[in-house]
């Protein structure tokens, strides 16, 4: 893989991620992630923050070896390690900013001091450490631009800065572990332990040594330079000891706390645990204790890669993946989440390459490695790709800007509609009413009104009550229902001459060839307003293109609802005269509000009006309990023993005038 290919991929990923970040600013993380209220920490927090802090541990670890312990062997890596740490922490800051709900509140810890919050401590440590890393790295920049005075001041303050960096890292690396002590009922016991702070700190040092080795080897390979293997093999040895300590502490703790059996269970969490600990520690330890592997570029590269992936998995597990079992939720990151995390990492990688090329980060990687020799060669006029993307500086600018733009645009095209237009509510389809036989207990004196009882069990005397067929109104079929005595309503509200006169009061609009269309047919969503017009059906029925002019009569006007023929112009009997339901808003003529809303509105309005005229006074007549009588839900266990015969309700038009069953 050449440097150019890697940079091309990085630019593309950066473009992909940038669009998602910008979109996320519009409508919040919910519009671009699969996170839920039950599982609010996913890839962004686990991978982009918790894991990256651990990987960035390279900065303080190597600085400690070089400046405190005076191990000059690691001198060649210290600048790279500091910049790597800096980039990790900047990525953490960027990732965290766009992960929290109200993103601009990322700065709130500066003046809203919460002394009881672990996150408050983590936030301050990371902010301060970021400053320390910046000052440490400015050493390299000052040297590059020969700023002698600044350099002198920086050199004098090196020791103070390094000590501050180590202290701050010790604090926040461990307190990130402390944070998850607060989740004993979410986190699987294989991960949740009181020693999490210790484990986080030790593993961060161990993995830090390996990630900087990995990055150094990768960069030197890309630029065809000789990596400082003496330093890398030394770091690998130290890291083997640190990781071994980590494994010992972790397994001992699990066994000591009596959770050893969990290690041999046959389930997903145990498998996850063994994969994680093998990748992050066991395999690396096994190889790195042998000198032959420690001194081989290829071996260290692959071992370090394994360990880095494994340790990242560990942090992702603690932050979210190992909580899926106890929270009974499922989560796999959306592509948008991958795009943001990978995009931020890719942008960090590009900055690292820039620093490698311009700031002399590694001693063995000189200008000769960075600048290829210019060899003009013969120009082929027919090879447009070489003409456009060839050459050095400008060819690269052409290529990278192109993939960046394509990445940005592709991401915009692929974004879910929620991210563009805002999160849309979920639809809840409604169903028609069913019929059921109920025992009707008429109102007694001044007590509550008519009561229904369903099922074959219950008190004595119920069977004496009249059996009636009533409608079971359960729009979204969730098992909670209201019983509605349709026949009684029809009879009570009927006119003296015409028994059918009462229908129109509620059935205010009918479908073609229908006399009393059921509510759910138009109010087809439980909560949302829906459009009643079916354009495709009309286009089909009116004979395709020739039929357009039936409704779109003015050819010079845009073909929209406002410029088209009114529905009632053709469907004359659609709106029933004398209905209780009057649509006053002209723009709402052919929209049906949510089922629940219209049911409540219709029943309540009528009951309120009729309450004063009741033959038997009933103060609950216009209240919730009049209809919601607390009958057992269909999901209730009662129905395992009791029986209730529920039948489909058929209207006259469905059954050709058969009436209800």
């Amino acid at each position: 893989m050449t440097l150019r290919v890697v940079k091309t991929i990085f630019w593309f990923l950066a473009g992909l991620g940038l669009t998602v970040i910008l979109a996320r600013i519009l409508y919040g993380p919910g519009s671009v992630t699969y996170l839920t209220d039950i599982l609010p920490w996913g890839l962004w927090k686990g991978g982009g923050v918790v894991a990256l802090v651990a990987l960035g541990g390279a900065g303080f670890t190597v600085a400690m070896f070089v400046f405190i312990f005076q191990w000059d062997r690691y001198q060649p890596l210290v600048r790279g390690a500091v910049l790597f740490g800096l980039l990790c922490y900047v990525s953490v800051a960027v990732g965290l900013t766009f992960d929290i709900g109200i993103w601009w509140r990322i700065v709130f810890p500066l003046w809203h001091w919460q002394f009881h919050s672990v996150l408050f401590e983590v936030a301050w440590c990371i902010m301060l450490y970021l400053v320390v890393l910046l000052v440490e790295f400015s050493h390299t920049v000052a040297e590059r631009y020969e700023m002698e005075r600044t350099l002198r001041i920086l050199k004098r303050s090196t020791l103070v800065l390094v000590i501050a960096g180590i202290s701050l890292s010790t604090l926040h690396q461990s307190s990130l572990g402390t944070l998850f002590l607060a989740t004993p009922f979410r986190l699987h016991p294989l991960w949740h332990t009181d020693l999490l702070p210790v484990l986080f700190f030790v593993s961060a040092m161990g993995i830090g040594c390996l990630t900087i080795s990995l990055v150094t080897l990768f960069v030197h390979r890309l630029y065809n330079a000789e990596p400082p293997m003496n330093a890398i093999s030394g770091l690998a040895r130290i890291s083997a000891y640190l990781l071994a300590a980590y494994v010992v502490i972790r397994l001992t703790e699990i066994l000591a706390s009596g959770e050893g059996l969990l290690l041999v269970q046959n389930d997903w969490d145990t498998l996850n645990f063994w994969i994680e600990i093998s990748l992050s520690a066991l395999i690396p330890i096994a190889f790195l204790f042998r000198k032959a592997y420690r001194c081989s570029k290829t071996a260290v590269f692959w071992i370090a890669l394994t360990a880095t992936i494994g340790m990242a998995l560990n942090r992702v597990n603690v932050a979210g993946l190992a909580t899926t079992n106890l929270t009974q939720s499922f989560y796999f990151p959306a592509w948008t989440e991958w795009a943001v995390t990978l995009g931020i990492l890719a942008a960090g990688g590009l900055v690292f390459f820039f620093a490698v090329e311009h700031f002399g980060l590694f001693q063995g990687l000189t200008k000769e490695h960075v600048v290829e020799r210019y060899e003009p060669g013969q120009l082929d006029h027919t090879d447009w790709a070489a003409l456009y993307f060839g050459g050095q500086r400008f060819g690269e600018v052409h290529l990278y800007s192109l993939v960046f733009v394509v990445g940005l645009a592709l991401s915009l095209g692929l974004l879910p509609d929620d991210a563009i237009y805002g999160v849309s509510p979920e639809t809840t389809v409604t169903f028609g009413a069913r019929t059921v036989v109920a025992h009707k207990i008429p109102a007694r004196g001044d007590e509550a009104g008519t009561q229904f009882l369903v099922g074959n069990g219950g008190e004595d005397g119920i069977h004496a009550a009249a059996e009636v067929h009533v409608l079971m109104v359960d729009g979204n079929r969730d098992g909670d229902y209201v019983l509605f005595d349709h026949d009684n309503h029809a009879a009570t509200l009927a006119g003296e001459d015409d028994p059918d006169a009462s229908c129109v009061l509620c059935h205010h609009m009918s479908k073609p060839f229908d006399e009393a269309t059921q509510c759910y047919e138009c109010h087809s969503d439980m909560y949302l307003t829906v459009d009643l017009f079916d354009h495709d059906l009309h286009a089909r029925e009116l004979g395709g293109n020739q039929g357009c002019a039936e409704c779109h009569q003015d050819p010079s006007a845009p073909k929209i609802r406002e410029n088209s023929t009114e529905c009632v112009d053709c469907h004359e009997g659609m709106r029933q005269e004398g209905s209780r339901v009057q649509v006053t808003d002209p723009t709402m003529q052919y929209f049906a509000p949510g089922y629940m809303h219209v049911m409540h509105a219709l029943c309540e309005t009528c009951h309120e009006e009729r309450q004063p005229t009741l033959p038997v006074p009933n103060e609950n007549f216009a209240r919730c309990t009049n209809c919601h009588q607390g009958l057992p839900s269909l999901r209730s266990d009662i129905w395992k023993s009791a029986r209730m015969s529920i039948a489909t309700y058929t209207t006259r038009s469905d059954s050709g005038g058969g009436g209800q069953q």
Partner: protein, 236 residues
């Protein structure tokens, strides 16, 4: 997937992608050309830029009737009419503005539908004329690349399918299919803008600037380049 869903896809995700490619791609071209311009000025012999002259010449060249040979007056007019129609109609068509309003809440005054109809027909006719002109003579054929033939045809396809979609009475095909062709070809035009000669919609002034500045190169620059490449005395 049924046709309606494909239609939604071309009007939603694909359109967003195409529009972003067009806008960002054009910005990229301007930036790249800007870098080119800066390096050109930096390497030029005479760093004094005749800003007034360049601005005046650029504007003069943007006006299409500057220096037209007598034989080409008709096709110059055709070309200008074609350009005006294909720029104005898509932006100010009432149906398009409705889509913008529905999606992003943006809206601006629309042109009258009848005028849009005539301008669409005019765009189709002039586009076909220009295409015919290009294939008719040996001279124009020898000057033409593949994209010079394809681009007018794609644009004409967009306008023709748009016209048919608005006028179902004269449309032999179904509405959804026509609309799909319209949206797909429209998206294709947007995507092609930054990668084809269509980018002249933004780069034309810049290319004029470059050609004006080009005269200020160091004398003997070509010989020096040849010497640097070690190809002195060879024919270019």
């Amino acid at each position: 997937m049924p046709v309606e869903q494909w239609l939604e896809w071309t009007r939603g995700p694909l359109f967003r992608f195409a529009l972003a490619v067009m806008v960002l791609g054009l910005i990229r071209l301007v930036v790249l050309n800007g870098i080119n311009l800066i390096s050109l000025v930096r390497h030029s012999y005479d760093k004094k830029m005749p800003v007034g002259v360049v601005a005046r010449d650029t504007l003069r060249w943007l006006f299409p009737f500057t220096r037209v040979p007598a034989s080409q007056r008709f096709f110059t007019l055709v070309s200008v009419a074609f350009h005006l129609c294909i720029i104005i109609v898509p932006i100010f068509l009432a149906g398009h503005i409705l889509l913008w309003q529905r999606g992003l809440g943006l809206s601006w005054p629309a042109m009258h539908q009848t005028l849009a109809d005539y301008m669409t027909l005019f765009a189709i006719a002039t586009g076909l004329l220009l295409f015919g002109k290009r294939v008719s003579t040996h001279l124009t054929r020898s000057l033409s690349r593949v994209q010079d033939y394809l681009l007018p045809l794609i644009i004409v396809t967009t306008f023709a399918s748009g016209y048919l979609a608005v006028h179902p009475a004269v449309n032999p095909a179904g509405y959804d299919a026509t609309m799909l062709v319209h949206a797909l070809s429209g998206d294709l035009v947007l995507i092609l803008i930054p990668f084809s000669k269509l980018s002249h919609m933004l780069l034309l002034p810049i290319s004029h600037l470059v050609s004006e500045l080009g005269w200020h190169l160091v004398p003997e620059a070509g010989t020096r380049v040849a010497r640097a490449l070690g190809k002195e005395g060879e024919p270019v």
